[in-house]
Amino acid sequence: MAKIIAGLGTSHIPLLGHIIDKGESRAENWAPIFDGFQFTKRWIKEQKPDVVILVYNDHATAFDMKIIPTFAIGCGEEYRPADEGYGARPVPTVKGAPKLAWHITESLIKQGFDMTIVNEMDVDHGLTVPLSMVFGEVEEWPCQVIPLAVNTVVYPAPTGERCLALGKAIRAAVEQFPEDLNVQVWGTGGMSHQLLGERAGLINREWDLAFMDDLQSHYEALAKISQVEYIRESGTEGSEMVMWLIMRGALNHEVREIHRHYYVPVSNTALGHLIYENTDAAACEGGE
């Protein structure tokens, strides 16, 4: 049976993609940012996930003002890196996991989640930057990816409680898939940032660190944070953090935090990153 073993959270800041693509990720001035992913790069080589369910938001790339899905799941065979206005990132095409994706989609819809099914789209930095930060510069991505795009551009985004519930439903769906697959769920976006208005540049380090602390065991409380409170406390784009709750919901109630990294600033944004592993996956299925 397929199994979710681990998950991670990470910002998906476009500047990180630019740095990597220009071959400057080993430059000394960027070391405080990239060094925090050295552990991750070693860890993922041991973990060897077959499939990553990658939760991100589309930034007016695949979706424009005509159609804005709250939850869009990619059931396609592959996804090309998008041209976001300065040429597509020179990274490999993303291979989908259509069989598992359709299984999850069918299960989610029957569990009462109103998924938008996507069979063809390009994927922007929200999806490809996390892949680059975790897998580094590679010829082929070493796993299949199921993109899960969450609307965080148009107000309102889905609530934290809805995102947490979606994560739990994803776990239930994955565990019913008959193939032996090592599946990870990644939540991306955040941490605090605001890209508009006089208040642009807002960073709330205290809020971000408390969020990372609480995500391990007090995630039900985090799920109650409203979008307005996210915006007030951590900036308009700080509300991307609901996507980490999908990741959290997909893991067991008991997880071990095996890595954490926090750095300010990257461009306009606070960078956050952590890794969870389920503790004794088989035994302790709590938190429902």
């Binding site: 007016a60 003002m65 508009l196 208005g197 642009a200 007030r232 308009t236 300010v264 606070a270």
Partner: protein, 140 residues
């Protein structure tokens, strides 16, 4: 502008991209989206006014595009993820474009970010008497 009487109307220096803003900014944002294609970027650069006139935008929106007035563009329904397609086609970094909306020069903005960014203290509520209230009472 259109964020009046909303639970987020008392957040200073912030425009939430809600349904009202989507309605006002629809064509402005779709214009920005068109700049994702190189051929459209070329046509826009050739004759900005003529390219803009193909879109059912308001005169104020067109003028704000020509002036690259991002504060105004946000007020007229622009969304930052769409607007960066305009600034990117000018070769501007996101941070540089964003800084123009603040009271800081691009250099001072970068300096503020290097020093840990803008503090939330005093930036949570427009009415400073409210700022002591726990914002955690806010509902979903």
């Amino acid at each position: 502008m259109n964020n009046n009487n909303k639970p987020y109307s008392n957040i200073p220096g912030t425009t939430v991209f809600d349904g009202d803003m989507v309605r006002v900014g629809f064509h402005l944002n779709q214009f920005c989206m068109s700049l994702m294609q190189a051929s459209n970027r070329d046509a826009f650069k050739q004759d900005e006014r003529a390219y803009l006139d193909q879109w059912p935008m308001t005169q104020a929106q067109k003028n704000a595009v020509l002036a690259r007035d991002f504060t105004q563009l946000i007020a007229l329904g622009g969304n930052i993820y769409y607007l960066v397609k305009l600034s990117s086609s000018d070769g501007l970094s996101v941070a540089a474009a964003v800084s123009t909306m603040t009271d800081l020069s691009p250099e001072d903005y970068m300096e503020m970010m290097r020093n840990g960014g803008r503090s939330p203290a005093g930036n949570r509520f427009t009415d400073h008497r409210e700022s002591d209230k726990k914002s955690s009472k806010e509902q979903q």
